[in-house]
């Protein structure tokens, strides 16, 4: 039974598809409960990283404590923001585990999307009470009744009393607050039992060390307590406990049912992993909370400084990012073409892009990235099984018994008009059809097993372009499968360029080899000599293009003694050359390495 203190607490999160208004609703809730005043509010307070604001997505979960008064009663509503992308589904699941309920925001004109569904299923798995909310009712295309019906038919939730709101216009926010109090159950948990607190997020603060976002499930946590992280076994002395207002606000203690933070001079987020359970050293709980797992990188790529002398800066930047991102891994690697750099592992493609962009924007680094690779399992003829995350490490063909590649189960929700193009795309990408289900008369969910290797390139872009942006995608790791894969090498002027090697399916190698060669021909500028570009599997050349030699590169005239201008033109040309990679005698622009990613 909840205590009378717990009776007045509600822990909830908001789940929604990108752009359906999750962050805007969160802002309105903060405003309505007076946590922040409208005038001092910057748009979308919870999404504080620039990147998040630009992309309209939440990368790292955040939390806020809202105080709401109703009928003379003061309620504490803990809002836990969740990341909205498939790469972070583990983080989402931990955030959900910290709540008793979830607000499901659905766009009144767009209806349910793949990610919404994926997150709803996650929420249902955690036995959360789900409150459907229909947003953007002020928009001309809003069809709240259709969306209600959809929610009932697809998810099986009663949407009859779903609040119709416009987060943007501030319409219906009070109804949402009422629903939170009336429908979401208060937390339970014995305040005097041994401590059990779930870490659902963490970030690094340069003054206090790692700040763990926690939900206390049982027991009580105070400053000065000695705590232990049950998965890593690391022990710390608590220096701060507090709540999110949404800035950090110290309190004396956190008790079962509370959401807040704890700091304990923890140096690295690795020591306070998301999903881990915190307990007391001197009175530990017997069992950790379920669901902890270590983040496993699924996608790898090489990251190199464009300017070789920035190698140390790149390492520093990666280390700093890692302090805050336990799922980012990296280790030094050397490429004959690109010099010294790092092999980096990511949860997925978005995670990879985010890291790349942060390196460029926040750390002002100029980087060259190689084509992403997944982790292959290679059974060698000597019986050994090796994992390969860099095409360069692929053993020679004769030593390979077979290769296994990772397979994901992908769910695509699309308007029924685009079923054909979507299935065609999945088929092209070596998909294995599972099933198809009509959500309503006009929308379909199509399930395919797809090699992850086919998704990491430009699957999402292709899906969007073939469905005019209407389809949504969600996927989860399914397992490994034996596949006919080959290593595709690219040779410039007869030399293999390691950074351009990729692993592809045998049937696609020819087309891909040709496409890469053609693309490289476009991006490599003409030079003194003719440059042959070849694609090869083993010793076999499967495609060839030629960058013709430069025929003319001379100023006909030096006008009236304007010599400075000519010199400056050359100096500019030299600067441009500096940004190129010298591979053997060939100068290769950085786009060449990216170009390989953009080939369909």
């Amino acid at each position: 039974m909840p205590s009378s203190r717990q009776e007045r607490i509600r822990n909830f999160c908001i789940i929604a598809h990108i752009d359906h208004g999750k962050s805007t609703l969160a802002d309105r809730l903060l405003e309505e409960t007076g946590v922040i005043k409208q005038r001092e509010m910057e748009e979308q307070v919870l999404d504080s990283m620039d990147l998040e604001k630009e992309r309209g997505i939440t990368i790292k979960a955040k939390a806020a404590k809202l105080i709401y008064e109703r009928d003379g009663q003061e309620y504490v509503l803990n809002l836990i923001d969740t990341p909205g992308h498939v790469d972070f589904s583990y983080e989402v699941s931990r955030s959900l585990a910290a709540c008793e309920g979830a607000i499901l925001v659905v766009d009144a004109s767009q209806g349910i999307q793949a990610q919404t569904l994926a997150n709803v299923y996650l929420a249902l798995e955690h036995d959360l009470e789900i409150i459907p909310v229909i947003n953007k009712i002020d928009l001309p295309g809003a069809q709240p009744d259709v969306v209600k019906k959809e929610i009932e038919e697809i998810i099986g939730l009663d949407a009859d009393n779903a609040p119709l709101i416009s987060a943007k216009e501030g319409i219906g926010i009070d109804k949402v607050l009422d629903c939170i109090i009336d429908c979401i159950p208060p937390p339970k948990g014995d305040e005097s039992a041994p401590l059990k607190a779930l870490i659902f997020d963490s970030f690094y603060d340069s003054y206090r060390g790692v700040i763990c976002h926690i939900r206390v499930v049982e027991g009580t946590l105070k400053v000065g307590d000695m705590i232990r992280m049950m998965a890593t076994g690391k022990e710390f002395e608590v220096t701060d406990v507090g709540v999110f207002m949404p800035e950090l606000h110290p309190v004396d203690e956190l008790k079962a049912g509370d959401v807040g933070f704890v700091a304990a001079s923890i140096k690295n987020v690795r020591d306070a992993r998301v999903g881990d359970t915190i307990t007391h050293v001197d009175r530990p709980t017997k069992e950790a909370l379920p669901g902890y797992r270590q983040a496993v990188p699924m996608v790898f790529c090489g990251i190199y400084p464009a300017d070789g002398s920035e190698y140390d800066e790149l390492r520093d930047a990666l280390e700093k990012l890692q302090i805050n991102d336990a799922s980012l891994i990296f280790e030094p690697e050397t490429s004959a073409a690109l010099g010294f750099g790092y092999r980096c592992g990511f949860l997925g493609l978005l995670h990879m892009e985010i890291v790349q962009e942060r390196l460029e924007r926040e750390y002002d680094l100029d980087i060259v990235t190689t084509a992403p690779s997944v982790v292959y399992r290679v059974k060698k003829t000597d019986g050994q099984m090796v994992e390969i995350s860099n095409p360069v490490d692929m053993p020679p063909e004769v030593e390979i018994e077979y290769i296994e590649e990772p397979i994901v189960e992908a769910q695509i929700i699309t308007p029924s008009d685009y079923v054909g193009p979507v299935m065609e795309l999945c088929q092209e990408r070596r998909g294995n059809y599972r099933h198809m289900e009509y959500l309503d008369e006009v929308r379909v969910v199509i399930t395919y097993d797809l090699p992850l290797n086919e998704i990491v390139y430009d699957f999402f872009d292709a899906l969007k372009s073939r469905t005019r942006g209407f389809a949504s995608l969600d996927y989860e790791m399914k397992g490994y499968q034996v596949s006919e894969l080959v290593k595709l090498d690219i040779l410039l002027n007869g030399e293999v360029v390691d950074a351009l090697s990729t692993i592809v399916h045998k049937d696609k190698a020819y087309a891909r080899g040709r496409a890469i060669a053609e693309k490289l021909k476009e991006v490599i500028p003409r030079q003194q000599f003719e440059i042959p570009i070849q694609a090869a599997i083993g010793n076999k050349i499967i495609a060839r293009e030629t960058v013709k030699a430069l025929r003319k590169d001379v100023l006909a005239k030096c006008y009236g003694g304007d010599i400075s201008r000519k010199r400056k033109l050359l100096e500019k040309q030299k600067e441009g050359k500096k940004r190129m990679r010298q591979i053997g005698s060939v100068e290769v622009p950085q786009e060449a390495f990216m170009a390989v990613l953009k080939i369909n």
Binding site: L555, I563, R567, L570
Partner: protein, 383 residues
């Protein structure tokens, strides 16, 4: 003080009509400014003349624009001022650029009387349709008469400018141009590859897709054919775009190519003397204004240290077929070419772009086509 021989450049920015490819400071419809411009120019010559009067002048070059669109009496006053402010050598080369469409028979006699001894005619092409397309105001018939009148007036040194690589120009048309120009028995030919410069009418035409630039293959073919044609007719190529009969190389342009010194007067004019390069405002009004206000029309100046100078000498010198003279280089910089550029030279030689003999380094025919690529290799060693 060392004895120095320098050149003088005088810019006349007026044209009856601006050609579509021209990105030079030249203006049509600016006739009102002619007189004030003359006075600003005379001031500038007088002021700088006091400063640099100790140098000998081996060449005066009046360029444009269309200098012959300026009143001949104005040209006379300019030259008189030069003669009185500077020590112009007896045998100095004195050139004027002109447009065949602006010249009557009488003008040649007048120009000759002013002391001008070299004439540079903008001919560009022989086909009247191409001339019209380029925005030229003359015909090839006028070219023929101009050359005849110039000879009659006593000009013994005549240059014509011609162009290849004009959009839609055929190889045959180019050969016809060469043929006709040679039959005029001129002394010097500048054969330029047309460059489509930004901020020109031609550039916008290309941007809008109205005109397509010539493909490089045809363009280079024209260049190479032109070189061998002119050689057969007794014109020796001595620079990337310049050909001369025996003893008729352009004294003035050699100043630029040998990285020697010159003073430029007028809007947009460039100067290089005593390690300083500078240039004047391009705009006529602004030039006149700053000239009147400050006694100079300078918009920009930079100091040339010996690193830059070394590179500039190579950059300009490699335009010459004879290349950069080793002894001359060592005299200027105290150390031989090899000391600074051994690696660049051997790499370029290996790649067949550069060659050397006892006295100089010079570009191979292939190197001439891609001179910029060669220069980048030298720039890498600029320090």
């Amino acid at each position: 003080m060392e004895e120095k021989e320098i050149g003088i450049y005088i810019h006349i920015p007026f044209c009856k009509k601006k050609c579509i490819y021209c990105d030079f400071p030249s203006y049509s419809g600016a006739e009102l400014y002619m007189e004030p411009y003359l006075y600003a120019l005379l001031d500038e010559i007088t002021i700088l003349g006091t400063k640099f009067s100790k140098y000998d002048i081996k060449s005066i070059y009046i360029g444009g624009g269309t200098p012959t669109y300026f009143k001949t009496s104005y040209i006379g006053r300019i030259l008189e001022t030069c003669f009185s402010c500077f020590n112009v050598k007896e045998n100095a080369e004195i050139t004027i650029e002109s447009n065949p469409g602006t010249l009557g028979k009488k003008t040649f006699l007048e120009l000759k009387r002013l002391g001008i001894n070299r004439l540079s005619l903008g001919v560009q092409a022989w086909q009247n349709e191409l001339l019209k397309f380029l925005g030229r105001i003359h015909t090839s018939q006028q070219v023929v008469s101009s050359v005849r009148w110039a000879r009659e007036a006593g000009f013994q040194n005549i240059n014509v400018d011609i162009m290849f690589g004009i959009p839609n120009q055929t190889v045959e048309e180019w050969m016809v141009t060469l043929e006709n120009v040679c039959s005029l028995e001129v002394d010097h030919i500048s054969a330029y590859s047309l460059k489509i410069e930004e901020d020109t009418a031609l550039y916008s035409m290309v941007q809008n897709g109205v005109i397509h630039p010539m493909d490089e293959c045809t363009e280079r073919h024209m260049y190479h054919e032109g070189i061998s044609f002119l050689r057969q007719r007794g014109y020796i190529q001595y620079e990337i775009s310049n050909f001369a009969r025996e003893g008729k190389k352009s004294v003035h342009n050699l100043i630029y190519w040998k990285d020697d010194e010159y003073i430029g007067f007028g809007c947009g004019a460039h100067s290089y003397i005593n390690r300083v390069r500078w240039y004047n405002y391009k705009d006529i009004e602004q030039y006149i204004y700053t000239m009147n206000k400050n006694g100079h029309g300078m918009e920009y100046r930079e100091y040339i240290d010996s690193n830059i100078e070394r590179f500039e000498m190579i950059m300009m010198g490699l335009r010459l077929i004879e290349g950069v003279n080793k002894a001359e280089f060592e005299r200027r910089f105290g150390k031989p070419l090899d000391f600074y550029y051994r690696d660049a030279i051997s790499q370029l030689k290996r790649n067949g772009l550069l060659d050397e003999n006892d006295s100089s380094i010079y570009l191979t025919p292939r190197g001439l086509d891609i001179q910029n690529t060669v220069l980048l290799a030298f720039l890498d060693y600029m320090g």
